[in-house]
């Protein structure tokens, strides 16, 4: 009798393996709202990876299925979305939402349920919760990695005073607080600082105040909707001839739809990016070509510079980790991720104990000679001149800002 049940057991498990349940990966990612412009491109890249990995036999011999919900860039939706992914859809692995603000609310949730979370371009979102199973794909680490480029460029041209405007939300506050400390340590004098509620649409009052304060540098920490409004306001009423550098931490000026709609209004702005044409990584050109074809079909951002390569990298990292540990166990995977470096289309990636990049490198670029209503121009080298870090540098800054802008 025992022998029969053993054989039956073997037969059933063989059958089960042959028709295995898929590996479900869950994500809430902005498709609308302020981050939607970036989120759409990011999701396309993730879907590309899912297709590629399924073409190679999936993970652990099982097909990979990606479940994605739109969080509308609204942090209030993500706890509900991720609870649904875990308890209703019963996913095996989680990827974080795109962006700090939608990710912040779910950090306590993943920590308390002991879950692995693959970060998606958040900034210091783990610094209060200190979850040890968090791995961020972004090229930055702490505030130093982000701001030292901007501040050093400024000091090289003799800047001594600085103004800060930051949205009152998790990303901008993390960045602004870090930047203010570094500015103080570097001997820069803060002549104006202002936080604004995330829903602010009119920046004329703030730009007027900045102009009156006459700073040498203006460091802005903003999300796409406000970044656009600030760029428009600065072009509308001008920020004063004293300002040498303007920008720094403006999210959204890397999204293709925003770049093409702002066009020449971008000229002169010095801002961060993750990838611009001219930076060499193994495999990235090939990825961007494949991406461009898919993006044209899906009617999404055709260039795919900012987020897509890094989202594809998340897939690559998961694939390598699951293959190496031969399991989907959250703890095993986390241990493996902490101890190894992973080769991706954006170079080698490894993390420090806080889950942020071990070797951060944030390109600081300046927009030059950008024309209106032209998407393809951004493929040319020279539209976003890399000022920092030295290994990627392709030019020096044009100052003051009003001159670089071609302003009134």
């Amino acid at each position: 009798m025992r022998f029969v049940s053993f054989i039956l057991g073997l037969a059933f498990s063989a059958l089960a393996l042959a028709q295995s349940a898929p590996v479900k990966i869950g994500i809430g990612i902005a498709q609308t709202g302020t981050l939607g412009g970036g989120g759409k491109a990011a999701l396309l890249a993730l879907q590309m990876w899912v297709e590629d990995v399924n073409g190679r036999g999936g993970l652990l011999g099982r097909k990979v299925e990606l479940l994605a919900y739109d969080d509308q860039s609204n942090p209030a939706t993500t706890p509900g979305i991720y609870t649904k992914l875990l308890d209703v859809d019963k996913v095996d692995l989680l990827i974080a939402p795109y962006g700090t603000v939608p990710t912040a609310p779910i950090m306590p949730l993943v920590k308390q349920r002991g879950l692995l979370l693959m970060g998606n371009f958040s900034f210091q979102v783990n610094h209060t919760v200190k979850h040890d199973m968090w791995f961020n794909n972004a090229p930055w680490g702490d505030a130093t990695s982000w701001t030292e480029g901007f501040l050093r460029i400024g000091q090289n041209i003799g800047a001594q005073t600085i103004a800060f405007i930051a949205a009152d939300q998790e990303f901008a506050q993390n960045l602004a607080n870090g930047a203010k400390e570094i500015a103080k340590k570097s001997g820069l004098k803060t002549v104006y600082e202002q936080n604004y509620p995330p829903a602010t649409v009119d920046f004329s009052a703030m730009i007027r105040a900045i102009r009156a304060a006459k700073p040498d540098m203006v460091f802005v920490c903003s999300y796409p909707n406000d970044s656009v409004a600030i760029v428009r306001a600065v072009n509308e009423i001008g920020v004063g001839s004293q300002v040498q550098l303007f920008g720094g931490g403006m999210v959204g000026l890397q999204f293709t739809p925003i770049m093409s709609s702002l066009g020449s209004l971008l000229n002169g702005i010095t801002n961060y990016n993750s990838y611009v044409p001219g930076m060499k990584y193994p495999g990235i050109e090939d990825f961007l070509q494949r991406y461009a074809k898919k993006a044209a079909e899906a009617k999404v951002d055709p260039l795919g510079f900012y987020l897509p390569p890094f989202n594809y990298a998340i897939g690559q990292i998961l694939e390598q980790a699951v293959a190496a540990t031969k399991s989907l166990d959250q703890k095993l995977l986390a241990k493996h991720l902490h101890g190894h470096e992973f080769n991706t289309i954006v170079g080698p990636i490894s993390w420090g104990p806080d889950g942020e990049r071990a070797r951060p490198a944030v390109p600081m670029i300046q927009f030059r000679n950008v024309a209106d209503k032209n998407v393809e121009q951004f493929r040319q080298i020279g539209k976003q001149v890399i000022l920092h870090p030295p290994q990627f540098k392709s030019g020096d800054p044009v100052v003051p800002y009003e001159k670089a802008r071609g302003g009134n």
Binding site: P75, K84, V88, P105, P108, Q112, D168
Partner: protein
């Protein structure tokens, strides 16, 4: 007597479910439905019994949530204390709001309550201690035995709160307070002529209503493990707390319960299966339909169909 048996059964049922193997998401969604039972019942005390349409539910709810956050951050206070404190603070806010606005009639009172929402939200946006507009992440304390998860415990807590809210509403309804409030609703001037202490009764209703809404709000930060101003003070709470009693029936304590359970469940099902927006659309459409076609709500319809006795209590 039947009432108290019903209430005891409800609590026992909630606790039993929480200790069973039911899917975790049921409690996540069920918490919200029970929260709306409390909000709808609380709204009805002022809105249904006295006829003063309060649009400001979100203000009392949000302040309750923030009170809980302050106590949690400052002193690691247990949930029960958070709820109690939230009820007190929101009750005070209700009293203050009432003092300021209850001399105004009709639409002025309602618009003034909207003003309270935005002023409270602005105050929280500008208070860095509770995170300002950025908000705060909150790590829940370890869950009490015998519950398996914090969400289950919150579910049972909300069930108990719902029972308390309904009991209070029922008490008010059948007592002399309820008679006075009904007199105010029917004709405030006539009531005053008869010597009904209208201002005191309205203030009382507003205070109790606010306190219950605050108590409901207190559990929300722990539920989400996160708090931020826009979602805590969202007008959607105000619309739902108003729609549910209007749909269920405003003259009896059972009305808000029916409205909340029905509408709340539909909302949760729609959120999981379709989208979040449609669920707000459902509330809006049902509100308009009932307000136009069935002003006495579901209870009224059931009375018309003679499924319920016509006598009003």
């Amino acid at each position: 007597m039947k009432f108290w048996i019903g209430m005891a059964v409800t609590v026992a049922l909630a606790a039993g479910l929480a200790l069973s193997r039911t899917n975790e998401y049921f409690f996540y969604a069920g918490f919200v439905v029970l929260q709306f039972v409390v909000l709808a019942t609380a709204w009805n005390i002022l809105g249904g019994y006295a006829g003063y349409v309060n649009f400001g539910t979100a203000a009392f709810f949000g302040i309750g949530a923030y009170t809980a956050v302050v106590l949690f951050k400052a002193a690691g206070a247990p949930l029960a204390l958070q709820i109690l404190a939230a009820a007190v603070i929101s009750g005070l806010l209700g009293f203050g709001t009432g003092l300021l606005t209850l001399r105004l009639r009709g639409i002025f009172f309602s618009i003034a309550t909207v003003a309270v929402i935005f002023i409270m939200e602005t105050a929280m946006v500008n208070w860095r201690y509770v995170g300002g507009a950025t908000g705060m992440q909150l790590l829940r304390p370890p869950v009490m035995e015998p519950f398996e998860s914090y969400t289950r415990m919150l579910f049972v807590t909300m069930a108990i709160l719902a029972v308390i809210a309904v009991s209070i509403a029922r008490y008010i309804e059948v007592s002399w307070i309820g008679r006075g409030l009904r007199a105010i609703r029917d004709s405030e001037e006539a009531a005053e002529c008869f010597g009904v202490p209208t201002l005191q009764l309205k203030l009382f209703a507003c205070t109790v209503s606010g306190a219950l809404m605050g108590a409901a709000g207190a559990a929300m930060p722990m539920y989400m493990s996160f708090i931020e101003p826009p979602s805590s003070f969202s007008l959607t709470y105000s619309v739902s707390a108003l729609a549910m009693p209007m749909i269920g029936g405003t003259s009896h304590w059972l009305g808000p319960v029916i409205g909340a359970v029905l509408l709340g469940s539909v909302q949760q099902i729609v959120t999981v299966t379709i989208s979040n927006e449609i669920n707000v659309l459902v509330v809006g459409v049902l509100l308009v339909v009932f307000v136009v076609a069935a002003p006495d709500g579901i209870l009224g319809l059931l009375k018309k169909l003679r499924w319920l006795p016509r006598s009003s209590r």
